[in-house]
Amino acid sequence: MVKVVPIIPPGEVPVDIKKIERAIQNALDGAALGIQADFDTTVMTWSRRVNFKITSPSSKTRVVGTSDEIYGYLDQGTRVRYATMARGYRPKTSPGRIGSRSGGGKVLFISRRRPRPGIAPRHFSKVIHKKWQDEFPTILQRAISSEVR
């Protein structure tokens, strides 16, 4: 889950506040849309359908995320894993990479009596958050420019 919050300096601003407000909203929504598309790439080769939603808990916040439990296990990692994979199994995702590949192999069985080392966290949320945090000034600049054209 990625949360985007702009930092707005206090004090008087000698410009049209309504336009600036609209620019900020556009920048927040633009970043959220970019984040949503990036999340889509992480499940693109999955047979499981995962949907990423953009919500707006307040006018200055956008949250992009999913309620999919399995995705959470991959994103955050787990301490143990109960699935045993076939030899030659290749996961579809890698830690720290935004995207997914075809992968290969299958799950042989799932048993709580055969715990395995946990799932390595992919950190999709962290990596995507960092990427769009760096990109946000450009998006905000573009949104402000569109208001003063």
């Binding site: 929504d29 849309l33 693109m44 707006s56 995207g99 450009t138 573009r142 420019s145 208001e147 003063v148």
Partner: protein, 205 residues
């Protein structure tokens, strides 16, 4: 786009020539960086002007800020390149260094799109480095002006078969990206899966 192609070709040639003259022959990293940063500023401004179809005198301060934003992101990459050159990374393979220098031309595409879509609060531009294909992106924006401040903006995939996953996802999500009354509209459409577009996809990332 024809004018952009010739600008890109010219930039590729010039960035290669600067690399050969400053680095390969004389190992002058500082003067190479200085000349490259000047030429990057020139080319990004030219690409923006071509996209916007305006003469230089019509550039507003906001236009300049958008160009500056693109140039400064490129300069950050250039500084990393400079550090690699100082570390002697391309001493044994000057061709590799020259090819890396010439890659800076590809980023002009994003400035061209910045100019072309001037005045629209879009989340990204083709070739701006936010996709898996980075600056090799051949995608485009198709803008439909519906009147007033209403626009439908379609992220169209490039003609190449090897579109990256980010571009595929954007072409599905931003199909169209709606701007109504000047506000970007967020939609949470549940995508039905990527099976049809991913047939035979081997991956670009």
């Amino acid at each position: 786009m024809k004018s952009l192609s010739s600008l890109l070709r010219r930039a590729v040639e010039e960035f290669g020539r600067i690399y050969r003259s400053r680095i390969v022959r004389h190992q002058k990293v500082d003067s190479w960086y200085q000349e490259m940063s000047n030429r990057l500023r020139f080319y990004h401004t030219a690409a923006y002007l071509l996209g916007a179809r305006i003469p230089p005198r019509d550039l507003t301060p906001e236009d300049r800020q958008r160009i500056d934003s693109r140039v400064s992101s490129q300069l950050a990459f250039l500084r990393r390149f400079m550090a690699d050159l100082r570390g002697g990374r391309y001493e044994s393979s000057p061709g590799g260094g020259q090819a890396r220098a010439q890659l800076y031309a590809a980023a002009l595409r994003a400035s061209w799109w910045e100019g072309k879509t001037r005045g629209l609060p879009l989340p990204a531009q083709p070739g701006d480095g936010t996709t898996q294909c980075i600056s090799r992106c051949n995608c485009s924006w198709e803008i439909h002006h519906l009147g007033g401040d209403d626009y439908d903006c379609y992220w169209r995939l490039g003609s190449s078969d090897a579109s990256c996953q980010t571009c595929i996802a954007r072409s599905r999500r931003w199909n169209p990206l709606r701007i109504r009354n000047g506000r970007v509209q967020v939609t949470n459409v549940h995508l039905m899966g990527f099976d049809s577009v991913l047939d035979g996809w081997e991956g670009v990332w």
